[in-house]
Amino acid sequence: MDADTLVERHVLEYPGGYTRSLGPAESRFLTGLRDGRIVGVRLGDGRVMVPPAEYDPETARPVDEYVEVGPAGVVTAWTWVSEPRPGKHPLERPFAFALVRPDGADTAMLHVLDADGPASLRVGMRVAPRWRAERRGHVTDIEAWVPLAEGEPVPAPPAPAPPAPAPPAGADPGEAAEEPGPVTRMVSPVRLEYEINAGIAPTRYLHALAERRIVGQKAAGSDHVYVPPRGSDPTTGAPTEVEVEVGQDGTVTTFCVVNIPGLSDLAPPVPYVCAQILLDGADTPWFGLVQGLDADDVRMGLRVRAVWDDDPAPDARSIKWFEPNGEPDAPYESYKDYA
């Protein structure tokens, strides 16, 4: 890759995390963990699977004979993490990721094994869960598994988390005494952090934006000017090696007025106008905001000019929005094939 292409770090993360409804099997499993128990399910052939599935992986039949397993178990495989990364790994000191088969189960579950060092680990060693005192119905309610010496009793889970603060006076006392209900939902954070490389052709266009110029590209022998360019003409696949500076004025070919607040952190206050703008000299529309006049006064054919950020960067967001340039509206015939 060209050493001079623009690269930016990007984070894709749904705010607050996805909310999963668990269904019967995961609900039993996580409710069990909250209550200091490990719950598996018996499959059609008699084997016990943990964590439990809703459907038999062999026969696809529904399975619902839930059985308590463990809490102690044996290690069936492990790998040592000698340099854990704070905030990324479950423990801050060196540990093992291990497959642990709880007693009474026929499958192993992936979890954390907290041990003195890799020399102390072996397949077949006995381990027991170290429960958190405050449990919420999550696989990390077991903080880690720990080695269990021969004849050593399995430690009991600490008492469940203290109950919620006392209800206000006058509330039904029976309500507060109730057992907590089953865990039925969980929040699943998903975060992807990666680098996006703009590519060679877009990098040239992006650098021009930092100079307040809009530079499209076209393939040799073609009249079609692409803004933004992606390096090839999508109709022919030919590289767009010819650079063409296009106008900073253009025509609103079509638009909508958005009245819904909060669609994006980058959205202006409602009502605002999202438009397709055909820049003078370009053959593809620019998606942009139109400001500087009442939303009700925006119309197809309106002539507009780019409004730049005070400190433009190699990024399309350097054009903040478009506003009327004072020219008379373009006739429909002049842009109808672009709408």
Binding site: Y18, R185, L289
Partner: protein, 387 residues
């Protein structure tokens, strides 16, 4: 179309609602798949291969549904494939499954598509700002509403046309117990007075956000002939795609849609879809896409689609009913919405559409899906008789 004659022999779907907190994703797809197998008179062990489709990953944060759902879909030891074509994915998934049969690779293929929109926010998924790009800060409506405005300018369609579709599809949904929206009192005035979300689109012009799943069992002629239930035979199928943007692109009446329709109708021996089809299930997520797709699919000349809608031609009792099930405007689990169109078309051909069954004529029905920036198209024509 060549290859092994292929039919839909089983159809199952969930009752689409805003939020299915009572089931996992596995449980959701299972409901539809189990119903389709029962409908077909087949068991899990009879299935040769499974094809699964869902909408873009960030919509619900599941990037490997084929891994997560293998047990629920009985896929252990069988080929399991995931299909991905944005909003048209339900249609493409059905076609990939059908082609596995048509090509003679498998005899019985289970196709499943789903979305659990309640676990996230599709508008967020469509509006994530990306480095270097000017952000689309207005969700799906912000992308499609300008195209609708362009259609109105091009065709001269009056503003109430979209509202007519919004009422018509919701009244159709009253005949469909599995539809998400049941709005028995809906009126044109109500649509006209509903909140103006993305001018020119009002609240009631827009599809809901649903949890739901759809499943189909596709079978070869040998298998279908031995099953007790009716079959919907595939008479034509086509997929087309085009780039989101290129010089000269007609975004309102995309070439890929026109080409896809031309192929599917040619394969099915249809020269005049308005006359030759009994009805159509077409992906209309915003009301105005009915007149737009009437033109794109060749049910009339360009510029005339709104006149068909206005004249009631597409109503339940019209000469060419569109979306007798209530359509995407009444149920929208995005990843499943295309397959619901394909499955509802099959149910019409099988005579199994219940209270929204349209009076059969030639017995041919269109199922249609589109996705992305109107750039992916998938269609089939199914019929009661063998092709």
């Amino acid at each position: 179309m060549g290859g092994v004659r292929t039919a839909v022999v089983g159809v199952g779907q969930t009752h689409h609602v805003a939020a299915r907190h009572d089931v996992s994703m596995a449980g959701l797809v299972r409901e539809a798949a189990a119903e389709a197998l029962v409908d077909a008179g087949l068991d899990w062990s009879d299935v040769d291969a499974v094809v699964v489709g869902k909408a873009p990953d960030m919509f619900e944060g599941v990037v490997m549904p084929e891994l997560w759902l293998a047990d629920a879909l009985g896929a252990a030891g069988k080929p399991l494939t995931r299909v991905h074509t944005a909003g048209s994915v339900g249609g493409s998934t059905a076609l990939v499954a059908a082609d596995l049969v048509r090509a003679g690779v498998h005899q019985r293929v289970l196709a499943v598509a789903f979305e659990k929109q309640s676990e996230s926010n599709a508008t967020w998924g469509l509006s994530v700002p990306m480095p270097f790009s000017s952000p689309l800060v207005a969700g799906a409506g912000g992308y499609f509403a300008p195209l609708i405005r362009a259609y109105m300018a091009r065709s001269g369609a009056p503003r109430h046309i979209g509202h007519l579709v919004a009422v018509k599809d919701r009244l159709n949904a009253l005949r469909n117990p599995k539809a998400h929206l049941h709005l028995p009192d809906i009126t044109l005035e109500q649509v006209e007075e509903s909140f103006l979300l993305w001018d020119p689109l009002r609240y009631l012009d827009v599809c809901p956000s649903s949890d739901g799943a759809m499943a189909l069992v596709l079978a070869s002629e040998d298998v279908a002939d031995g099953l007790p239930g009716p079959a919907a035979w595939i008479h034509g199928s086509a997929m087309r795609s085009e780039p989101t943007m290129f010089a000269g692109r007609d975004q309102v009446n995309p070439q890929a849609g026109r080409d896809c329709a031309a192929q599917v109708f040619a394969e099915a021996g249809i020269s005049d879809p308005r006359a030759d089809l009994d009805c159509a299930e077409v992906y209309v997520p915003f009301s105005w896409y009915e007149p737009m797709w009437l033109e794109n699919l060749g049910f009339c000349e360009a510029g005339e689609g709104w006149r068909l809608t206005e004249a009631g031609a597409t109503a339940f009792d019209g000469d060419i009913p569109w979306n007798p099930s209530g359509g995407v405007l009444s149920s929208n689990p995005i990843g499943a919405s295309g397959m619901i169109r394909f499955g509802e078309a099959a149910q019409q051909a099988r005579g199994r559409a219940g209270d929204h069954q349209v009076e059969p004529r030639r017995g041919l029905v269109l199922g249609h899906a589109y996705g992305g920036g109107s750039q992916f198209f998938a269609m089939w024509v199914v019929g009661a008789a063998k092709p």
